[in-house]
Amino acid sequence: MENSIKGEQIIQDLLPRKFKTSGRIWVGILVAICLVGAYAYYRQLRYGLVVTNMRDYVSWGIYISNFVFFVAISLVGSLITAVFRLAGVKWGAPLTRIAEMIAVGAIIFASVIIIVDMGSPERFYNLFLYGRIQSPIIWDVIVITTYFFISLLLLYYPLLPDIKILLRFKEKSGPGLSKFYSFLGSFWKGSHKQYLLSKKAINALCVAIIPVAFTIHTVTSWLFATTYRPGWDSTNFGAYFIAGAFLVGAGSVVVAMYIFRTWYHLEKYITPDHFDKMGRVLVLLCLLYLYFNVNEFLTPFFKMKESEAGYLNDLFSGSFALTFWFAILTGIILPIIVLLFKSGRKPLPMFIVGIMVVVGAWFKRYLIVTPTLLHPFMPMHDVPQMYKHYFPSWEEWAISMASLAGTMLIITILCRIFPIIPIQETLDEHHETVK
């Protein structure tokens, strides 16, 4: 009896809730940012890419930086859901849905921002009409589509048992959402056969998503590494990108964990122990990423080839030095120092560290793209002065910020519709504990 009451309490705690005033304001802010971005995009469509500050040399600016950032962050779905599940890490279970929601939101806007970068959206169609299988750009298109589809399935399958629970509370959900839930999973009865099929599918997805996740970011790194440029001409790039992606993904999960925990009062389900363990994961990933950064920058710095000297000096002590050292310190070094202490792995410090990692990672992506383009092997001759510098125009900022807001809006909508923490899994775990 007591067990059943406890179970009902868990369900009540974890059911999606309507937005209160603060939630509506949050959504309003995100929508407003998206609208400003939409207006900037209208201007880009109306007047062309000339409204951006991208020119002949810097043809990949903040859009592509954002794209790399989104692809990186989306990898968290495979880390938390697949790697943890296959490795039998049970404490990660409450975080799987958060990770999948972030992955879906990020991968959607990774695709959107690529279309924005093309200038006219109909050019995307040309990729399918005239795309060459020899080009890493086509590999990226294929692998992003695949990863998006797997992420959707990995979000959907574990939702089925929860949808059955959600359908029990039709009056709480409202008629619209109830219809939607019915459409998604009214057929789920929780029979043993259904459970077995679902479990098998989830396991297959977990196995499939890992190589696809590695491919998506490796291929993204190859977009750069297969182009002969200072700073990109590296065999280290695939592993370097994967390590950075896992780090920023884990950082974003930590931030989301803290916000959901505080906002929805989920202290009983996302405990300090979860933060402590995520902190350990995060520090490991920070150290790994630091290792790849040392590899990436120390050897070229040691050799200081003439063709790369301009680029390296610009990063280390030139016009990009402030951003570079900020990204390294904020995104890697300081998190390592904080997270090595147990008190640094408590919820609030972890939240701050998570923000540092995500912000540092965003700037790091900017530094991967832009400084290289400003230092071509062939010196710049007879070009207007503005071609030699790059700072995004307000349209680029607005669109980029809108893409970030759009990702957060998708995550917000998903957590309004679906339980943030898998209800059935939590119930099963509770029953096992009671036994």
């Binding site: 020899q134 695949t146 589809f149 797997i150 009865k189 997805l205």
Partner: protein, 295 residues
């Protein structure tokens, strides 16, 4: 009154000092003029139109450096100001050259030797300079047989060409950057018949599509004859068959020319992954069917 005297003295003194300074400046300007060193060279290839090359240098910080932008006037004969070959201006390497123009054909034929003259009139930076070079008319004949090259050096004496003994001849194959010696011996000296021979030891050297290479026999920087050379095309090289992968299946070809291995590998991966995903979607319908059966 005394004040006026003092002012006058000061004025006179100032003017004197200024004159002294300006005079010194003028003197120092004159002293700053540098001297030029002009070197002339004579070239004739395949007994065709000869040309004169000038190299102009100046001393900067104790070392000779090329002097650019120096206008020189070249003459065919030192003692005849009417035989102007032309005006040249040295480039950034301090060099310039001029062909002997057809208008000097008669003057060229009148003598077996010529003393070329180059003059520079001087300017604000450099003092006037001149240089001359005496060259006796000579020619080389080249013959080949059984991968052996024979060169004969002749000098014009009176009205006939006579063989010259003791002239150093180099044999080479013309390549893009320089001439490649035909064997390990750098130079060969002509005998009493004016002949020098060398064996061709560059069998596998790439030639054109027919295997043709250009042999060259040359006399370089000779005090008497200057630089003379003669060339001959022989089919002694390896046939060069250019390899072009244009329109073949490569990573950089058009989409319809993708490498087969890439199509198989990428197609295989895409089919394997998407087949799995299709099966997983089908699995949803199986779960759905099971649910409907339970109802």
């Amino acid at each position: 009154m005394n004040t006026m005297k003092l002012l006058n003295k000061l004025l006179a003194g100032s003017i004197a000092v200024m004159l002294l300074i300006s005079a010194n400046k003028g003197f120092s300007q004159g002293a700053e003029k540098a001297s030029l060193s002009i070197t002339l060279s004579y070239f004739e290839v395949n007994n065709q139109l000869p040309h004169i090359s000038a190299m102009v240098k100046t001393k900067v910080d104790g070392r000779f450096r090329p002097a650019a932008g120096i206008p020189l006037k070249l003459y065919l004969n030192k003692d005849s100001s009417g035989t102007v070959i032309g005006n040249i201006i040295t480039d950034e390497n301090g060099q310039g050259f001029a062909f002997i123009p057809p208008s000097l054909k008669n003057e060229w034929k009148t003598s077996k030797t010529h003393t070329f003259l180059a003059t520079f009139d001087g300017n604000k930076k450099f003092e006037a300079a001149k240089a001359d070079l005496t060259v006796a008319k000579a020619k080389i004949e080249i013959n080949t047989s059984d991968k052996t090259i024979t060169a004969k050096v002749f000098q014009l004496k009176d009205t006939s060409w006579v063989p010259v003994k003791g002239v150093d001849v180099k044999f080479g194959v013309k390549r893009l950057g320089a001439d490649l010696p035909v064997n390990e011996t750098p130079t060969f000296t002509t005998d009493s018949t004016g002949q020098a021979s060398a064996d061709f030891k560059r069998d596998s050297i790439p030639g054109d599509s027919k295997g043709n290479i250009v042999l060259v026999a040359k006399v370089e920087d000779n005090d008497q004859f200057g630089n003379i050379a003669v060339e001959k095309t022989v089919p002694w090289g390896a046939k060069f068959i250019p390899v072009s992968n244009f329109n073949e299946r490569t990573l950089f070809a058009t989409r319809d020319k993708a490498p087969i291995w890439l199509i198989i590998v990428s197609g295989g991966i895409i089919i394997a992954v998407w087949l799995t995903l299709i099966l997983l979607v089908q699995n949803i319908f199986r779960i759905k069917k099971l649910g409907q059966e339970t109802e």
